[in-house]
């Protein structure tokens, strides 16, 4: 007796779910940064090549596996080979780690969104100091947007060792973010369908990595989504559509981001020039309004020669304003979203409107990706009969959300952002590469490429052509192995790992070393997901031997 598996109402719902999962914050804050670091428009070449060679084939593979096996990741890999059930479990573990820390970003977006309904925006000016004679020290040294992010939002401690207490405002926003996710996944996945320098080897590696993580391969979410498809669904077409839309969103987002960069750089440059003008006017009692950006340079030369002693006194304070250095400040991640963008927004007209729109967009992206992550965890759980027979769907979703939320409270502590960075950098990177490598090898060599081909023909009506087969069988595994080796060597060569800590006294980030226990956590994160694969294989092997031994002895 088999329970009818819920199906998407129509193929469009499935495509939208995949797009909403794949198009996430990485498209907005990681891709523009990579473009800027690796040659601007030139980065598109390795990016598109990697998209065609790596992204689309692997996406197609995952969707086809899910659609064929009609199970979540654990069930699907169990069908392919019981020894490979570990791959599914590793996917679930990685998804679990991801959902733990990813929703914190949504919490921050909610926090900023709620604060956008004020006039003036709270990050547009510094607060006053205690005796009301000037502005707060930390805010003066940094900037008002940085101050709002590091002090008012995170209330960050100077290093990862000092934990501090849980910030109740952030905790509330995190709880709200989890409630919103719960609301969407409450009824099960079917309700989540919503209307998502060339020679430098590092450039290619980063293009490959970006495609890989941007599409969300290896988390099991795509398998979960595809398992709710009709078997006759044309997943090849959908794989191409989803990957193309994901990439075009990235490119579009970088156009917007670059214009924001330009605006901010120009604004800061003009501010810098004005500060120099004021300094010179005050020091030499020049007529107010005499110094303009036009005659600044020649006046400086004149003053240096006419009043050498006074000039040398104030010379250290004169900053060399340069538009290029402003443009060169490339930021990625939370720094881009919550500092650079807010700084640009506060200088626009009707800033409240832009702020609300921007943070609603961040929330849409973040929650869309969260739904995919939670689907990756929930689908194997609801597929397994032991759990789903005892608890209804709502209770399982509620439990998953509750556990994740409780652990996520760690990230609302004062040192929470440092732990967030640890999870962001290490929870998914190496493990995913390994998972997808094993997936590709499993489908091509363990399950058999011929068998898979025939299955696809039975399901969709036609065989995948030779291009896909070559990529699956040879190119993708080689590519992933080389990426894997590169990352390992990079980690080993870098020596001890370091992080950026916010120094309140200086008003800027400083580099520190991770303490021992943080390194242990990093190792645990990577090991707990990667070790699933060999451990479960070993366990299944031992169990089968033991069972054989029992039957023989009888």
């Amino acid at each position: 007796m088999e329970k009818a598996r819920p199906v998407w109402n129509n193929p469009l719902q499935f495509v939208f779910a995949c797009i909403s999962y794949a198009v996430g914050l990485g498209n907005v804050w990681r891709f523009p940064y990579l473009c800027q670091m690796y040659g601007g428009g030139g980065f598109l070449i390795p990016y598109i090549i990697m998209l065609v060679v790596e992204g689309m084939p692997l996406l197609y593979l995952e969707l086809a596996v899910g659609q064929r096996m009609r199970q979540g990741s654990i069930g699907a890999w169990n069908i392919i080979s019981p020894y490979l059930r570990g791959v599914g479990i590793a996917s679930v573990v990685v998804s679990f780690f991801l959902s733990m820390y990813y929703n914190v970003i949504n919490a921050w977006a909610f926090w900023y969104l709620f604060h956008s309904f004020q006039d003036p925006l709270p990050w547009s000016s510094c607060p006053l100091n205690s005796n009301l004679t000037g502005y707060d020290d930390e805010c003066e040294k940094a900037s008002s947007t940085q101050y709002f992010w590091y002090r008012k939002t995170l209330n960050i401690s100077p290093s990862i060792e000092e934990n501090g207490g849980i910030q109740w405002e952030q905790a509330l926003c995190l709880i709200l973010a989890w409630l919103v996710v719960y609301l969407c996944i409450l009824r099960g996945t079917e309700s989540t369908g919503k209307i998502e320098q060339l020679a430098n080897p590092k450039t290619w590696i980063n293009a490959a990595t970006q495609i890989f993580f941007s599409l969300g391969l290896g988390f099991g979410s795509l398998i979960a989504f595809a398992s709710y498809n009709e078997p006759s669904n044309n997943c090849q077409k959908h794989a191409i559509i989803v990957s193309l839309i994901n990439s075009s969103t990235s490119i579009f987002a970088s156009i917007v981001t670059f214009s924001i960069y330009g605006f901010k750089a120009t604004f800061n440059y003009e501010n810098c020039i004005n500060k120099v003008i004021l300094l010179l006017t005050n020091s030499f009692d020049l007529e107010d309004g005499f110094l303009t950006p036009g005659n600044l340079e020649e006046t400086k030369v004149y003053l240096a020669s006419a009043y050498p002693t006074e000039y040398s006194k104030i010379f250290p304070e004169i900053k060399n304003c340069s538009l290029e250095s402003e443009l060169d400040t490339a930021v990625q991640g939370t720094g881009l979203s919550f500092i650079v963008y807010t700084e640009a927004i506060k200088n626009m007209e009707v800033s409240q409107l832009w702020s609300v729109l921007y943070f609603v967009m961040l929330l849409m992206l973040g929650i869309g990706s969260m739904l995919g992550n939670t689907a990756a965890i929930l689908t194997p759980l609801t597929d397994s009969n032991t759990i789903s027979s005892r608890l209804p769907k709502e209770a399982i979703s509620g439990l998953v959300c509750l556990i994740n939320c409780a652990i996520g409270l760690v990230f609302t502590m004062e040192a929470g952002n440092y732990w967030f960075d640890i999870f962001n950098d290490y929870a998914a990177t190496l493990s995913l590469l390994l998972i997808v490598l094993v997936e590709t090898i499993a489908v091509c060599y363990v399950y058999g490429l011929k068998r898979f081909e025939n299955d696809l023909q039975v399901m969709t009506g036609y065989k995948p052509n030779w291009y896909w087969k070559i990529i699956w069988a040879f190119v993708s595994p080689l590519l992933i192995i080389s990426l894997f080796i590169f990352y390992l060597t990079d980690y080993i060569l870098a020596g001890t790992l370091q992080y950026q800590a916010w120094d309140a006294t200086q008003g800027q980030l400083v580099t520190r070393d991770y303490p021992g226990y943080a390194l242990a956590v990093i190792g645990l994160l990577v090991a707990s997901s990667t070790m699933c694969i060999p451990l479960v294989a070993l366990g299944t092997f031992i169990m089968s031997r033991w069972k054989k031994g029992k039957t023989v002895s009888v």
Partner: protein, 225 residues
Amino acid sequence: MLVALLPILSLVTVIHAQLCQPDAKNAFKVRVSLKTALGDKAYAWNENEEYLFKAMVAFSIRTFSNREKIEISNVLLCNVTKRVSFWFVVTDPSKNQTVPADEVQAAIRMNRNRINNAFFLDDQTLEFLEIPATLGPPTEPSTPIWVIVFGVVFCLVIVGIILLIISGIRQRKRKSKASMETVDVEDKCETMVTIENGIPCDTLDSKEGRFNRAFAAEDEKLTPL
């Protein structure tokens, strides 16, 4: 060309020249940025404006302290530059001394707003060096606005969750009720391919037909150990 525009130390009539000097005891430097504040509408800084300034300072000292009447002639200005910047000092009429600096400072701070307004300037464009301005704290509503918006969104989400949970429970109750009534219909349905336990066949809404595990060869799907 630039030489001509150099700040020229203009001569201002000073009664007690030695009391008012740059960096003198109890003297304060003032900086006025008319063009920055007013742009095209900037007026020229001349002796009349200086007279007004002396009047404002004398007014501040009079309202603040209990000294004998301070007159405008007791406020001395000197070293007026083209910037516009100058030094001032307040003399005590009874003794031949200057009023202490902290008294002058406190008096000016108390009346800073009125002094600024008299010249159409603000704290940044009319600077008293070493007299820090009291910056106005931003108006904070009793309940921070973000809490209100948070509360609204929170309540909406909770209501949505409760509605969905209740409708889910109701659906399940309806299903189990329907199954209890149609237990006898099951016999008729057993001749059909497969049925779900207790659910009458005509309520099943399956698009692709039933997949009967019994008819699927086991070894097709599973790779043998």
